[in-house]
Symmetry: C2
């Protein structure tokens, strides 16, 4: 070992080729053998070969001839470790956001009523499982006809198997425009020609970011905000997110003065703000922007000559007294420059088909639409799924029934869940939409800081075995707030979850 390691560095050095031909063959042979064994061991252990029948280790090495002239070169081994991009270096490191850490930990020990009753219950993901039965019933009845069609076979196969338009089938755009109209209360129309379809809302936000701002520019984002925005806007587009803090005293409602301050502070630092990114209904709070606030936002955006990106993926998942108004409706109501307003929508939330990956960009800006259409090649929805969803959305009776039932079920679970939390002394922010409540547990943390919040999260995870999202992952400025998704469980499972939460609450109270 002591002998070989220095030799290895000599051989692998810049003059390896020259030296390699000078060092006696015998030494070389043993060195190579040693290196080969060492490398293959380390690569096996680092390559995450979870598959028990990993062929690289079990199958015999095939023999492929090579010309002898090059054998010296090959025996030299690797000169040095090959570099990857800065982005890959960062992304390959373990996540530091508790949002992702929580999701990963659930995967390692997921709760199941029979198989793993002591596993972690997933309350950290906005996945709506309350209406899977309706979707299932529809699929069983309609799947085959939806994908393969019922009429001209030749037309059907040509409509799903070869290349299709990358930005989505026209039929699906029309069906989506109808669905959005319906889900948003029938008060606003959407033009299918202003749509670019993508494989989920996640690539829609990313593509829009690439269209609206250059690397190093920034978007203003009211906090608390959806943890995924960091990923969609920062990672590859390289756009910064400037938090605009909203407060519990104001039920975390947006406030134009705070926006003005954040904008002018950014300008002083030389940062170019190119847009405001909002989620409406808000994720994680669940409140809804009033028409008046939407007008103010538009005024602000016009005044600063910046864009508005409105993520409206929870538009149809309302249960409260406040009515949702799309920014598209405000645009229709009077003269406003439409070219700066862009809407994100998708079917993962309001139709709960997250696995289907259907999202869209809605914009009146022709430059943005043209560019987004070209980028949609990197996030195209598969054609069979497009046909399936077109058919599902076109079944008006089903959709009407789904929207109503879904709202009723979300409301029922929400009301019961929030009621139980209140009885435990945990209050939630006033909300009207979404699949989560935004719970104030500041009374349970000690110290009153992000550290205290983190410790409470860890208690929920390891003692109560529930995964919830801490406010810090949503960039909330006040510690002690948590997002709890309640649509991943059934109404009947609420007592179980509440019982687990009670345990933690009691531990906290007894230790204080």
């Amino acid at each position: 070992m002591k002998l070989i390691v220095p030799l290895q560095s000599v051989v692998q050095g810049r003059n390896g080729f020259l030296l390699g031909s000078l060092i006696p063959c015998a030494l070389f042979y043993f060195l190579q053998l040693y290196l080969k064994r060492r490398r293959s061991n380390s690569s096996n252990s680092s390559n995450n070969n979870n598959n028990p029948s990993s062929p690289s280790s079990s199958s015999p090495t095939p023999v492929l001839p090579r010309s002898s002239s090059r054998s010296n070169l090959s025996s030299r081994g690797s000169i040095s470790r090959v570099r990857v991009s800065k982005l890959a270096s960062i992304l390959s490191k373990p996540d530091d956001s508790l949002y992702y850490i929580g999701l990963d930990r659930v995967l390692q020990d997921p709760y199941h009523v029979f198989v793993n009753p002591n596993g972690i219950i997933q309350l950290g993901l906005s996945d709506n499982k309350l209406c899977l039965d309706l979707i299932e019933k529809w699929l069983v009845k309609n799947l085959e006809g939806s994908v393969m069609g019922n009429g001209d076979m030749n037309l059907s196969i040509n409509g799903i198997v070869p290349y299709q338009p990358f930005d989505g089938l026209n039929e699906l755009k029309i069906a989506l425009a109808d669905f959005m109209h319906q889900v948003m209360g029938g008060s606003v129309e959407f033009d299918p020609s202003n749509m670019v379809l993508t494989s989920g809302a996640t690539p829609a936000i990313e593509i829009l970011s690439f269209c609206l701002a250059d690397q190093g520019n920034a978007f203003l984002v009211p906090t608390p905000f959806y943890p995924g925005f960091d990923r969609d806007v920062r990672w590859r587009p390289g756009i910064d997110l400037i938090p605009v803090h909203c407060r519990s005293t104001d039920n975390f409602n947006l406030n134009i003065t705070a926006l003005e301050q954040a904008f002018s502070q950014a300008r002083k630092r030389g940062v170019k703000v190119r847009g405001i990114l909002i989620s409406n209904p808000s994720n994680p709070v669940g409140n809804i922007l009033t028409p008046d606030m939407l007008f103010s936002l538009l005024d602000f955006a016009e005044d600063k000559n910046i864009h508005i990106i409105a993520d409206e993926v929870f538009a149809g998942s309302t249960y409260g007294s406040e009515e949702f108004v799309s920014i598209a409706e405000v645009l229709d109501s009077e003269y406003i420059d439409k070219s700066r307003v862009h809407i994100i929508y998708g079917l993962s939330k309001d139709l709960s088909i997250a696995g289907f990956r259907v999202g869209l960009i809605y914009s009146h800006n022709k430059t943005v639409l043209d560019a987004a259409k070209k980028m949609s090649r990197f996030a195209t929805i598969s054609a069979p799924t497009q046909r399936l969803v077109t058919s599902m959305l076109s079944d008006k009776r089903f959709i009407q029934e789904y929207i109503e039932t879904n709202r009723n079920r979300i409301r029922r679970v929400h009301d019961e869940f929030v009621d139980c939390l209140t009885k435990l002394g945990i209050k939630c922010a006033k909300s009207s939409a979404g699949m989560f409540c935004w719970a104030d547990m500041s009374g349970l943390i000690k110290p009153y800081s992000e550290k205290g919040e983190l410790e409470l999260w860890e208690k929920f995870m390891s003692v109560a075995k529930i995964n919830i999202t801490p406010g810090s992952a949503c960039h909330c400025i006040e510690p002690g707030w948590f997002r709890i998704c309640f649509t991943t469980i059934s109404f009947e499972e609420i007592p179980l979850v509440i019982e687990r939460i009670r345990k933690v609450v009691e531990t906290c109270k007894s230790s204080s």
Copy 2:
């Protein structure tokens, strides 16, 4: 008009807010009315509203109240046009590559035997339509069971409707590893845990580019190369492509000396070369890299400490005498640093299901895999499609029959097509794989330059009404070469296409 335009500029000026409150209300009302009508006209004409029932123009404007205090602001109109990103500005412009221009022109006037017999025939896209009948037969029989499962319903619905792993289902990875093993002649094994699945090979190349190099770095690419590489590598990753010119005298085979030269020239210019991007089998030439050349490439990459990206999407579409050898097989055969080699694969070519959008990255580099897994959120394949394809690939009898039939049909069309071209005096490069021939029409162009090539392309497009891809779109250094895809037509349609080509050949000869 003469009165209103100067007023508009005053009202829209920076002092609009102040002036707006001074100008009499009546004038304001009429001005706003005028602007609204003018803008809505211009936005309708520019927004590409192909849809005849465009709701924005046909539906009555809804009335949404806003607080009176802000009405002055809104009437001010837009201060100035909102800026988009540099990338969006570039992408929104009309394409300058004849590859895309050709594809667009086909869409506007597509050939159909009955509906549009004088339309443009598509020979510019590698879409394999020779075996749609086999896929169709399989789908009719197996679609429902594949997606919904045949056993536990609850398990099935949970496996397609809610969120699934973003980098692809394990079942599909295993099925893909088997398929790749089979299609590549059974001589190489693939480990499913080294895969990241994406919605097509296009996002796979893009994600890999984001992983391997930083903005401003470069990849070496032998020419002629697939026109899509420009899009996948340059657009969003911002990586440059340095052409390494291959020549007709060498049947466009790769040559290490040319690689060495390109590498050292780039280094002299201060450009960091981070990899070599090859397509093997080559698109557009259709030739195959020999095992010896693969070894040389690996030696070169090790020597320069750079990556190799091998796009092997045509691996199974072979018809010639040369046998395809995957770079994965060479890696297996002796000690080589595997962490620098990455393979792109997909089912759009070898299984001709381009509309399904199934692609993958295969790599032994754990950092790259970890980063690519996170980026796969932007290009996830929909779950119903994943279930469907898993089932299709697991039907071993079908797959075996498909691979054989497909090869036979490609061979039959290729041989006949190339034979007919030869009779017209057009020779093709020697090829063994792919869905195209690489045809030498340098004798038909005048002048012998890119200009001459462009003029010949235009003749094919407007006189012969066939879309083929000119060499310039593939960065070929020698003018007069064209890629002609022959799998978009049936064997029976060959005479029609050849007749159309003959017309152009005769025109060229008569004018020379």
